[in-house]
């Protein structure tokens, strides 16, 4: 990420963390992940 604008780098990290939260929440409720 060294070469990205800072705002874009922060956005990527926020999306990463949000995605992880979604997966954790789905797994916590016992939901089955959709196959890719």
């Amino acid at each position: 990420m060294k070469y990205l604008p800072r705002e874009r780098a922060v956005g990527k990290l926020e999306a990463l963390a949000a995605g992880a939260r979604i997966v954790r929440a789905e797994l916590a409720t016992g939901a089955r992940l959709r196959p890719l």
Binding site: M1, K2, Y3, R6, V10, K12, L16, R24, L27, L36
Partner: protein, 308 residues
């Protein structure tokens, strides 16, 4: 305890414009020897500026919700160029030449004598980062294979000997990083992918020497190179299953931009990390981090990608 699917960065983060000349950084390629003209801050004020830039990175990562925080490598001109000047046996003032993965000649350190590390290099920076966050922290160091690939060897009899010499000093540095509070240490080894045939000769031996006696999570990172400098990404990894037998507990790969359809999450994750076979046999590690302590377990539920 870290959550399921803990998030982190590979290592680097954008450096502020007040700290580096970003236009020069973007146009100049990846430095393998020091390039002090990149810094906007005079040398006598640079350490303080690096500390302040680190604080900004930590706050950005914490606010974004990242679980394992790094210093963004904001003190470095590149992931690579900071180590050689701190070692003996290497000349960075009259660089040699190596062929980068792009196929272009690049100035690199020359090995002119026995490589030793007179004193710790990143210990203070690690203690500083440790004091800035309660999150687990990760510190990255270039790995011995990549260091060897980007060194003009005029002293050691062959590349494996040079790699083991580098591995010994990297091992000393990793021990100091752990003592200074690093929870995760990572070897950056992009040239394992760039030079897979040479990697099969001595890559794992060099990595294992570098990680000898290092407790807790240890990561080896591979990638295709900075997206900014390497535009044509290969279709998959040429060197990956070999790392299952190395001493590292985790392997981290870049998955973004890869067109490898064998990766189950090839386009949806920027990069991802999974536990090696050696790690899955081990007990969980106790990670003391700031005021809290956590138990880290291997990410056994992660599916391993099929190597190309």
């Amino acid at each position: 305890m870290l959550p399921l699917l803990p998030t982190t960065v590979v290592g680097s983060f954008p450096q502020p414009e007040w700290l580096v000349d970003r236009a020069a950084l973007l146009s100049g390629g990846v430095p393998r020897v020091p390039k002090p003209t990149l810094w906007r801050v005079p040398e006598d004020l640079r350490e303080e500026a690096h500390d302040d830039a680190t604080r900004l990175v930590v706050r950005d990562m914490e606010r974004a919700g990242v679980d394992i925080v790094s210093d963004g490598e904001v003190r470095r001109e590149s992931y690579f160029a900071w180590l050689a000047p701190a070692l003996t046996g290497l000349d960075v003032t009259k660089p040699g030449t190596a062929i980068a993965r792009t196929g272009r000649p690049t100035p690199v350190p020359r090995a002119v004598g026995p490589i030793t590390r007179p004193k710790p290099v990143l210990a203070r920076h690690t203690r500083f980062l440790r004091g800035e966050t309660d999150h687990p922290i990760k510190i990255t160091v270039p790995g011995p294979f990549t260091l060897t690939a980007l060194t003009h060897n005029e002293y050691y009899p062959d590349a494996p000997s040079l790699a083991l010499a580098y591995a010994a000093v990297v091992n000393e540095e990793l021990r100091d990083l752990k003592a200074a509070g690093a929870d995760f240490v990572q070897l950056d080894e992009p040239y394992l992918q760039a030079w897979p045939d040479r990697a099969r000769e001595y890559g794992v031996a060099a990595i294992d020497r570098a990680l000898e006696g290092i407790d807790g999570p240890t990561v080896v990172h591979l990638c295709f190179g900075y997206a900014h400098t390497v535009r044509d990404k290969p279709s998959g990894y040429s060197y990956l299953p070999e790392l299952e037998r190395c001493r590292a507990t985790h392997v981290s790969i870049e998955a973004a931009r890869s067109s490898d359809r064998s990766h189950p999450r090839r386009s949806s994750w920027a990069s991802w990390t999974w536990a090696t076979r050696a790690s899955r046999r081990r007990r969980p590690w106790r990670v003391e981090s700031g005021r809290r302590s956590r138990t880290c377990r291997p990410i056994a539920s992660c599916r391993r990608p099929t190597a190309a």
